[in-house]
Symmetry: C2
Subunit: 410 residues, 2 copies
Amino acid sequence: MALVNEHFLKLPGSYLFSDIAKKINTFKITHPQKEIIRLGIGDVTRPLPPACIEAMHKAVEELAAASTFHGYGPEQGYDFLREAIIKKDYATRGITLAVNEVFVNDGAKSDTGNIGDILRHDNSVGVTDPIYPVYIDSNVMSGRSGVLDPNTGKWSNITYMPCTSENNFIPEIPKKRIDIVYLCYPNNPTGTTLTKAELKKWVDYALANDTLILFDAAYEAYIQEPDVPHSIYEIKGAKRCAIEFRSFSKTAGFTGVRCGYTVVPKELTAATLTGERVSLNALWNRRQCTKFNGASYITQRAAEAIYSPEGQQQIQETIDYYMTNARIMREGLEEAGLEVYGGVNAPYIWVKTPNNTPSWRFFEQMLYEANVVGTPGVGFGPSGEGYIRLTAFGERANCIEAMQRIKNWL
Amino acid sequence: MALVNEHFLKLPGSYLFSDIAKKINTFKITHPQKEIIRLGIGDVTRPLPPACIEAMHKAVEELAAASTFHGYGPEQGYDFLREAIIKKDYATRGITLAVNEVFVNDGAKSDTGNIGDILRHDNSVGVTDPIYPVYIDSNVMSGRSGVLDPNTGKWSNITYMPCTSENNFIPEIPKKRIDIVYLCYPNNPTGTTLTKAELKKWVDYALANDTLILFDAAYEAYIQEPDVPHSIYEIKGAKRCAIEFRSFSKTAGFTGVRCGYTVVPKELTAATLTGERVSLNALWNRRQCTKFNGASYITQRAAEAIYSPEGQQQIQETIDYYMTNARIMREGLEEAGLEVYGGVNAPYIWVKTPNNTPSWRFFEQMLYEANVVGTPGVGFGPSGEGYIRLTAFGERANCIEAMQRIKNWL
């Protein structure tokens, strides 16, 4: 009798974004004449950089002729892309990586979800709270989470490290030892960052406790301030305790093109039950060779083009566009009397609801009164209660109009 | 202390294809003047169909303008592609599927590897032998395989169903109950097929024993004979016991473009320990929503173009090209006095080595004497010993020349 993985059955039946979609649909049916502005979902709206478009047309043409055709590529990605990544994203910050420490993928969601394959099912897990739901859901699926307490919204085997305005969104270093800790900086959903000194505390904790840090740097391209680390490997010792995930989705508008990469340093090890040290680079390589067949050749050529001088300038223009949106939104929300976080080194704005209004209630009020859609903070975890997330990825005119509506409403 | 998934450590250290590459390198160094013909690796060589090239250029242009830009697509794939798949691959054979029973992916390797995520770690597994190594390796990683017996090359918790010339490559229905059975038809590596009557026996077995069949039909486009099922759902009852994997890699030259799809019928269930039935469609959907973010928009538009009248004609021409290669190779090998299987409904030719020569020994002899590269059959499992696999994906002239060399050699 084929048996299912029963851990899946612990997952709550509905998704945050489908719940939101349902509420929007109800509103639309009852208010067909109202025009909604969506600042909820974190998807980009600007077109791809011309350098990427050109590279993709060229790559498509290569596949049109037998003499230039490319079939199976390396599971780990083409060297032309891995070398560009190392040279431009790491060497420029004084970080040395070998080509086989970089694994190109079809987006950071795949790798942040699949990385658990190479780790034991009973490692303890720590997360900052609020958090990107994939980290928790993928651990629920593999049996690491324990059971959900419906009252607190917390899983029994997961340690939550609250990030709220009370602690300035800086997670407290745990008193106890945790095997695996997820950190995402610049943070989704709060838009906040850690300084080098703050991140160093985590690396020191990890080295002292033999903790593996899974560091999601998907939004590093949005960093504007000097003291914010772009890579965890800027911190000494991090290669011995951290895997880093990067994505082209928000850096270059690749949400529909699908490409990112994961760095697994060769000095990084984890233990067997008998205390033997095992290279995680070797395990991840084996995992990818068995369950992945590389990213599209066309996509990888597009990603390579991001690193050309033209590509670099073009992505900067788009990032500036979104970050100007973020500034306009921050200012508008503050003028409306709201407490606002993030939006300085990240495309996410994290808004405290007035008078401790619950997230979902404020979401509905803003939808019905201002016809603006955000994402209820509690959807990202218990410590997100009393907040709402807005994203800066929309059209400029919509951002301006949304702020006007919110000011008129509040 | 972060602990590794120790099941990974059970996997043998080297890969079949890297072992082959090493042997070829040694030969090249010692025989620099010899020109090798590679008929070993199953990668295609013909360019993409013009219909796909055109569709990709168009899709790339869409991503170049904000008004036609596409960001995140559905994790399950775009409806335009899912509907084309259902209409052309299934409705034409009298099989009815709903759009949400089809999951578009970045290639069949990902899904055949990841499908185990939704199944318990202690299901028993059965495989035909020889077999595509991903089925076994992915089960080793998740702890289902038990331990490897280095003498037999078999894993203790996996049931092997030999497919050799002795049983005409028809796997015997097991006497005992197995929870999960992998079937790949047309078969990689043997190139053989099952008739509808033979496949029906497996569906009947699965229904009687509550077995889940994982049916890999990646090579169905190569079927030439009428009584060979293209889909397991041509057999009554199969929707209640089988998941089907399809790929555009060999159908349309997508090995470097990365696209395929998986069918998980809504009537398909598996059990919890307490006997409750759970929809595998719902679990797989949840898995994909958490750990996958859809295939590239450009890739999906290319896949859609395969189903246009031009696309259908163009892929047929390429398939005919490869199958003519297969015929030339079959005839050549038979003329050389070899026993040959496959190559009629599949691009793979499975050759019995003369005088029971071991696979690796024959591989080396053919490399050194005829300068032709195949894949040792034993690399696909114990029952592959005494065989070698050749593929028909090469250039015509190379296939003809390789046959001439083998005839001169033997």
